[in-house]
């Protein structure tokens, strides 16, 4: 009974549970530390369970429709409405479920990691509440099938993210980063909303499926496409608009940075959703595909080359984050560029997309792991500066192990997960355009180089006097890192199972615009 109730209402509960948790966290924070921590664990675990349930349902039976406020949530169309949905619809297809699962895993990890707060940290209730709200924002963004609802959740995630970035207010630098993030996100959100208004004014609907069906691709639609894509690409950190990203990532608390990676990838999901599902084959896909590819290549090159110079370890990782975003854009952009050609799509396009999407989830795992290790180092050593760090390998052995796993994964060394997705991207992109694949490989080598530097600077060398009292971080932080490391290794050792289970349906859901429309409109 309760299981059935849970599975029918899973999309709503996926949002409602963390939201309720966030609202109640300040009240529980008054009771003390332990109830609040237990509450956070409970809520994140429940969210994870719900998203796993939802994903299982989606992967077995196909897209799940949830209509808010209707009598029967599974029915999108009211009988006398003339074949259009009037209410907000959550349209959870394989891609959405995959993103939601990833987000809730990282949310769980970030929650666990944040539990051992320092001795005198203030404002932890607000911190946890905002963490849950950020989770809400990401989950809503990836699940919704409604453009305005997407905007609302985008704003939730932006504001919660900005407030969390500004958490360390004592020197003002973190607030500067938060201000930059909030300002740019708000601007991008408003321009996104303008594009929504353009589409609404023409087609009188906000549902993605309905607009996709009615799309005529006139001038207004083209402008709206440009507004959508640039705003979301900016939020994802594609290169000419990536400047906020190192600032923000280097200043946020580490668990938040690991989570902001997922937030950026939710924006990336928005890019893919807009390009593939909203516009789809009506798009001038070669041009848009090359636009995305160029953004991706620029991201890879500039990100990795700027990373080599950095001395702040989190800033360095943030630049790598940009560079990894480039891989995803490259993979999916290749898939978009050959969207209209079934033969090329069959031979390498789909593989490229799968590689991009697989890289997305891999990136969330190993990048989150790396940021968490950086946070652990900061937790004990109190600095991010590579020139001051050194010799920590003697006292923080487990952290060092996790760091090695993450670094090897991001550099694409087998058998970790980064290698498998990069392999897919290299080979398929080589068939599309050899130059791009060569660039991708060079970037991978540079990534390895810069992580060798980080490893050398932090862990190698003799033990230093100022870090004599440093010991291993508390158990919850180790557990959080351990979960991500385990996932990294597992996904590296069994890549094909993972691709078959989750990535291929997701890529198929993106490519197949007709099935998305049909899931709402009930057949074409």
């Amino acid at each position: 009974m309760i299981g059935e109730f849970w599975s029918i209402n899973a999309p709503a509960l996926l949002i409602a549970i963390p939201m309720l948790g966030a609202f109640a966290t300040p009240l529980l924070g008054k009771m003390g530390k332990t109830p609040r921590n237990l509450w956070i664990l409970l809520i994140t675990a429940l969210t994870f369970a719900t998203s796993a349930l939802l994903a299982a349902e989606v992967y077995t039976t196909g897209p799940v429709i949830y209509t808010f406020g209707a009598v029967d949530p599974a029915v999108a169309l009211v009988s006398d409405s003339g074949g259009i949905p009037v209410r907000i619809i959550f349209n959870v297809d394989a891609m959405s479920a995959f993103m939601a699962l990833m987000a809730s895993v990282v949310g769980l990890v970030a929650g666990i990691y944040s539990l051992p707060s320092g001795k005198m940290k203030s404002g932890r209730d607000g911190y946890f509440s905002l963490l849950l709200l950020l989770l809400v924002g990401i989950l809503g963004m990836v699940c919704t099938g409604d453009l305005f609802n997407f905007f609302v959740f985008l704003e939730i995630s932006s504001l919660a993210g900005a407030a969390l970035v500004a958490y360390r207010i004592d020197k003002g630098v973190a607030v500067e980063a938060g201000l930059k993030y909030a300002f740019l996100s708000s601007l991008a959100g408003l321009i996104f909303l303008y594009a929504v208004a353009l589409l609404y004014g023409q087609y009188d609907s906000l549902n993605i499926a309905v607009i996709a069906e009615r799309m005529q691709f006139g001038f207004l639609d083209k402008v709206a496409l440009a507004l959508f894509l640039t705003g979301l690409a900016m939020k994802a950190g594609a290169v000419p608009m990536h400047f906020w990203m190192p600032d923000t990532y280097s200043m946020a608390p580490s668990a938040i940075t690991a989570f902001l990676v997922v937030s950026s990838q939710a924006s990336l999901y928005g890019v893919f959703r807009i390009a593939f599902t909203l516009y789809g084959l009506r798009l001038n896909y070669v041009t848009v595909g090359w636009f995305i590819i160029i953004l991706g290549v620029l991201s890879m090159l500039v990100g990795v080359s700027m990373a080599i110079l950095q001395e702040n370890v989190k800033r360095l990782m943030a630049y790598h984050s940009i560079s990894q975003t480039g891989y995803m854009l490259l993979g999916v952009g290749v898939g978009l560029a050959v969207l209209g050609d079934p033969a090329m799509m069959e031979s390498f396009g789909l593989t490229a997309m799968e590689g991009g999407l697989f890289h997305l989830v891999n990136n969330a795992m190993y990048k989150g792991l790396l940021f968490l290790t950086a946070g652990a180092i900061f937790f004990r050593a109190g600095t991010h500066n590579l020139n001051k760090l050194g010799g920590l390998g003697h006292s923080m052995k487990l952290t060092m192990l996790f760091f090695i796993i993450g670094a090897l994964a991001i550099a694409g060394i087998p058998p970790f997960n980064g290698f498998s997705s990069k392999l897919m991207i290299y080979e398929s992109v080589f068939a599309f355009n050899p130059l791009l694949a060569i660039i991708a490989m060079v970037v991978s080598i540079l990534t390895l180089a810069s992580f060798v530097k980080v490893f050398h600077a932090i862990f190698m060398g003799p033990k230093r006097g100022e870090y004599a009292g440093v010991n291993e971080v508390p158990v919850p932080m180790l557990a959080a890192m351990g979960i991500l490391a385990l996932l990294t290794v597992l996904m590296g050792i069994f890549p094909q199972q993972f691709v078959d289970l989750m990535i291929r349906p997701a890529a198929g859901a993106l490519v197949n615009q007709g099935s998305y429309i049909a899931s709402v409109m009930g057949g074409l």
Binding site: R87, G126, D170, V223, G382
Partner: protein, 95 residues
């Protein structure tokens, strides 16, 4: 150089926005089925005379929940940013 580029970018953006504005039909939208459905059935389905309220709280009530959450987020963020400082023992190195 930078100023010129600024104004060029803004001009392109302005031109596109104005062209968009000229391209839309004011006062006579082409498709109107969703809103017509709401106006025709809103009173019976939601019991509200004010259709905007019906939309805000019933048809698109989920957006309203999100929007209330945005407000809650802003309040939490302001409380977090303007909180009294008690972090003397944490030394940060930003450079």
């Amino acid at each position: 150089m930078k100023k010129v580029l600024t104004w060029i970018f803004v001009a392109v953006f302005a031109a596109s926005l104005l062209l968009c504005a000229a391209g839309l039909e004011f006062g006579a939208p082409a498709y109107r089925d969703m809103d017509d459905y709401m106006i025709a059935h809103g009173q019976e389905e939601t019991g509200a005379n004010n259709i905007v309220t019906a939309v805000v709280f019933d048809y698109r009530g989920f957006d309203t929940l999100g929007e209330a959450t945005v407000l809650f987020t802003a309040v939490l963020g302001i409380g977090l940013v303007l909180r009294t400082l008690a972090m003397e023992d944490e030394e940060y190195e930003y450079e």
